[in-house]
Symmetry: C2
Subunit: 395 residues, 2 copies
Amino acid sequence: MSATHTAPGLPEIEQARARLEGVARVTPVYRSETLSRLVGREVHLKAENLQRTGSFKIRGAYNTISQLGPEQRAAGVVAASAGNHGQAVAWAAREVGARARIFMPQDSPMAKVDATGSYGAEVELTGPAIEEALAAAQQYVADTGATFVHPFEDERVIAGQGTIGLELAEQLDDLESVLIPIGGGGLASGISLALRALRPDLHIVGVQAAGTLPGGSGYTIADGIAVKQPGELTMGILGETLDEIVSVTDEEIAEAIVLVLERTKLVVEGAGAVGIATLLGGKVGGTGPVAAILSGGNIDASLLIEVMRRGLAVSGRFLVVHTRVVDRPGELAKLIGLIASQRVNVVEVEHRREAAGVPVGETGVELTLLTRNRAHCDELVAKLREWGYPVTRLD
Amino acid sequence: MSATHTAPGLPEIEQARARLEGVARVTPVYRSETLSRLVGREVHLKAENLQRTGSFKIRGAYNTISQLGPEQRAAGVVAASAGNHGQAVAWAAREVGARARIFMPQDSPMAKVDATGSYGAEVELTGPAIEEALAAAQQYVADTGATFVHPFEDERVIAGQGTIGLELAEQLDDLESVLIPIGGGGLASGISLALRALRPDLHIVGVQAAGTLPGGSGYTIADGIAVKQPGELTMGILGETLDEIVSVTDEEIAEAIVLVLERTKLVVEGAGAVGIATLLGGKVGGTGPVAAILSGGNIDASLLIEVMRRGLAVSGRFLVVHTRVVDRPGELAKLIGLIASQRVNVVEVEHRREAAGVPVGETGVELTLLTRNRAHCDELVAKLREWGYPVTRLD
């Protein structure tokens, strides 16, 4: 970046809101009865996953791009992103009639490549790492004079994301705490600047994904906040505005995704679920009303399937067992019939003549079953053993 | 039912709205850019899946139960349902402080049994068929004097559902058509009565699930509208108010569920997706703005997983192939390495020494792979054959 950036104030955030009027959705806030009961306090969800393009990112991108002059718009805008920021820049550029070039890592999910292209951007796939996309974007800026739109280190971007804070303050009169995901820190900076100004006593918590913190595995399913280096500008702001920063594991995030999906009918991506994961894990204090920012809903469908399968297994509604039957016609049918008598649905049967540990004359069988809850799983496993089947649970 | 019921008029629907104020959510309407582009006309979604309890049913249930006198409330309310209606009656009864007893078929998904119980109702599981739950409910009425709440054959229920029509008329100025799911017909009756009164020229379309129509398989994934006998009252109304009735297949419904989930971040159940399925299938005429009622979001998580897997396979993002490798150390690793070189993710490997059609000295391998699109699938299959692997596609 060429310019020096400073934290935006409330006036800049209010100006951003005026620019976004009729462009970004004022996303709804829902009180979730189930989550409130589970957590023991009033839980509100700011459904920014229902924002245009599926994430909050258009607020900052549009607030930035709409301030560019005619020559800058004519030269176009450029971004490097595998995800939400790229889609947002593509969308915002189209809204103002600017050209957009988005550099994406080679293995970006096709759904995201397609979505970005569908907003009219030129999409260019680079090498597999985001750094290569970034280098290509910077080269493109040098070659063409296009404007690089940073995902977070820019006061216009931060002011745009801050409009969520203005909405929240109007939508909820009585609020003790708010939970905001932290990746690069643009979202958390913007919202916390707005709320510190409007509600000085609010308890503001930033949430990170444990997987990509120092000492973590280096991976997180919350790819929207998997940022190697948080911004200098944003971290400076967050040092002033946040009361605390907590972190959640991928296991906790996955559980939150499934719960939000099943009980509120909203699809959230990993980053969008970290606030709920924090509450479910009892990682933040207080008993008063709390709001979680569901920052986005752009989760890859195949990842969502895996997360849901895991969620069902954890809650005992999905059981995978290995057993053996005598290698004789009718024996498998008998087993399946016995299972059906327990009102259990069979999803998959894997029948293997030859498998490690299975004696000659017997056949290994792997069963994937739909069960009602943990007690039902235990009951079924006990029954199978009672009937003489050696059972190993695999889930 | 003891009382004779007649169609409610606009005044009854407006009274219902007044009763529901502050109780039911005024659900948002979203314009979907992706769906509009795919269908070639402006598509709006009335997100009744975001209604309390996850479906529109509380509108009719609350409008009915809140009109009961003190003695009737004290005697309690009763319903027979495996799904949304039972949850809605439980919820509405709690809101007015009445006891509720809900009879549910034995194999109702645990998530629905739990949800119904969590609203404070007494849940009783009966035999597997809904008719048994219904008989038990009627016996309970005879024994206790409780009030039976019918899911659709009641003008108070119809008037409650009709409040969606009032909201829609205010939320969308310019509308050519509306698509409404038909099961028992209460939702379609209420909405169409309201809209006929307010927008006489609107093209109103009812949508049924083909699976449970005469000549169908008898099954549909749209369990919310899988009703054996539509109501006399409702069918009489619909004969007057609807312009046409169309039907959609489970395959079309599944595709619509996946598209709505991925692109709008909303979870819809089968019944809630039939309007979008109608549009995607080109089954309704016109070019002007159209609204689909997303009636509910209570889809069983295991069914949703199956629907999503199928959806990914149809769009070429999930590929299952069977092949063979020579039964020698390193051969499987070589195959996996070659696949990885094509930037394909391997989800599952099934390795079977002995399988039908596999010659001695070779091993059957079943691979589940994540691909980018149809072209990528075809390319990969061609590559595998080029490398000498005999490939059968299983998806």
